[in-house]
Subunit: 332 residues, 2 copies
Amino acid sequence: MAEKAGVSPATVSRVSRGSTQVSPELRDRVLRVIEEHGYRPSHFGRALAEKRHGALGLVFPGLSGPYFSELIQGFESEALETGDQVFLLASHYRADTDAKVLDLAARVDGMAIHAGTVSEAAVEEVARQIRVVIMAGEAGPAQASVSTDNSTVGDLTRHLIVDHGYRRLAFVGHPEGSPDVTARWLAFLAAHREAGVEPPADPVRLGLAQSDGAIAARMLLDEGRPPEAVVCANDETALGLTLGALGRGLRVPEDIAITGFDDMPMAALVRPGLTTVRQPVRELATTTARLLHAPLTQKDGDTVLDTEPVLRGSCGCPDGATRPTARTGGDG
Amino acid sequence: MAEKAGVSPATVSRVSRGSTQVSPELRDRVLRVIEEHGYRPSHFGRALAEKRHGALGLVFPGLSGPYFSELIQGFESEALETGDQVFLLASHYRADTDAKVLDLAARVDGMAIHAGTVSEAAVEEVARQIRVVIMAGEAGPAQASVSTDNSTVGDLTRHLIVDHGYRRLAFVGHPEGSPDVTARWLAFLAAHREAGVEPPADPVRLGLAQSDGAIAARMLLDEGRPPEAVVCANDETALGLTLGALGRGLRVPEDIAITGFDDMPMAALVRPGLTTVRQPVRELATTTARLLHAPLTQKDGDTVLDTEPVLRGSCGCPDGATRPTARTGGDG
DNA sequence: TTGTAAGCGTTATCAG
DNA sequence: CTGATAACGCTTACAA
């Protein structure tokens, strides 16, 4: 094709990739023809010859809000550094996700999979072909993972019980839905046990979208005896719940205290400010991308990033962040 | 590779693509070996030979909320029908988007580009190589486009002025940010002109995320004289604004009326219900994907899908949808 | 029905 | 510094 420039394909290849092994004159001539014909090297040709795609895959459940947005941006910016293209695949919790993931695996050099989006079997299968890192969950025996510390939900729960004296708490989130929510629910339960307070028998099993928070409001507030405080699995549901509470004429935190998880931008913007847990989503993403770039060592292991509580007005604190009561170490 | 099954590559190819031209016995033997070795045909080999990727690209600005989620799901489900894989590319409004789009263009057979994400020049360049359809904006001379009717914002504005008697309205949205918002702002202005009411000199120029609505609340409510009604460019900002208003102790719609655009699930779940405009996002996406599958005819043209107002409580209507005052046809 | 061989666009190796 | 030539893994005539 570009040999219409009167040179060999090898020379075109060298020029198009900026090799120094070409004489200035020839380079110029080739560049001119490339320009004229709007030539772009074929990715399949290149991939076939190099046995690599120059691309990474990122698989996640859906696009509900800032968490994934931040995750994706972080991942992409890191991949940019290493010159990798990123292909996004949103599962939407659909049944055909496994097939799509397998297909994607044939087009990329490595894949980051958000926990809870793909079946165990598919993850194993993909890991047999290319590098895999699990985000926000634990890796199987063969892959690496990066996640954040969910136990801070326990600190927050203890804060609600010990510092504010709430006794009837609720938890909004679906523990079976993702490792993150599982861990948060368990931390919520553990804090109750530790404080000698009876936890609710069940969580309010809903998703992580803001609309789920609005539904939670209906379930918790339109009946008999609302809880004094609600620990939500993430900020989005917390804000949905807040909207529901305020819309019903309730005051936050006087009538009902609410906490979230993520510390998304809205958390600081609403009134009262949302008490939550800050997790380093961007670092989660960049760490994952970095791991994916180099061949994984036998066991890169499970990296767990730190998180920290952020106390604002919605739990009953004055609207300015402080730290919650430190864990006492006792059994309560 | 799979010829270790003792057959020719041609036979493997035939079997792996389900050709009928193979004897049952051979087919079984090959299938067994394929299974054993976990063989998957290489995409570059296939793409190289077939001169197609079996994939479509979808480029959009970011992932803030239900609009893009719905858009992507619709697009993917349609692509699934035609057996195409979908590659997502989020621009995040970054400068290097053009380069990524060009790269993506080399890996897919067609590309849907959401308006306002990619430079004109890059769109032209991509369109020279593969099929391109613009979403939520007008196509250049060479490509097709699919968008929705934004003029309904004018109907909503007229409703606020004529039916509810509001005189001091505000508009939240950045008209220069996207064709959609441009059209909505212009419709807002036109309705004022038509009704003989003075519109605000400028819109509140903010983005489309919920946090932008919260910022709008600060700008509009924390000072002298708040507007009586606010028309927001989309539901997310409307909800952010609502949250801000309620959090400040204001009542909606008594103290301030608020409208949105999209009719996302939250709109019906909040109290009061959010008055908004329903647009067929899913149809927008499926139509685009369908157009992309077949070679575009010389001018598939600009498809515009219908939208309709949805009146709920946040504008002052009783919380149950009705239709707004019909356009009179006069010049006001 | 099955195998052989050419070709897809690139890179890498090796001569010249 | 440059050009042949052989891969790369697959599909598709064409031949057997």
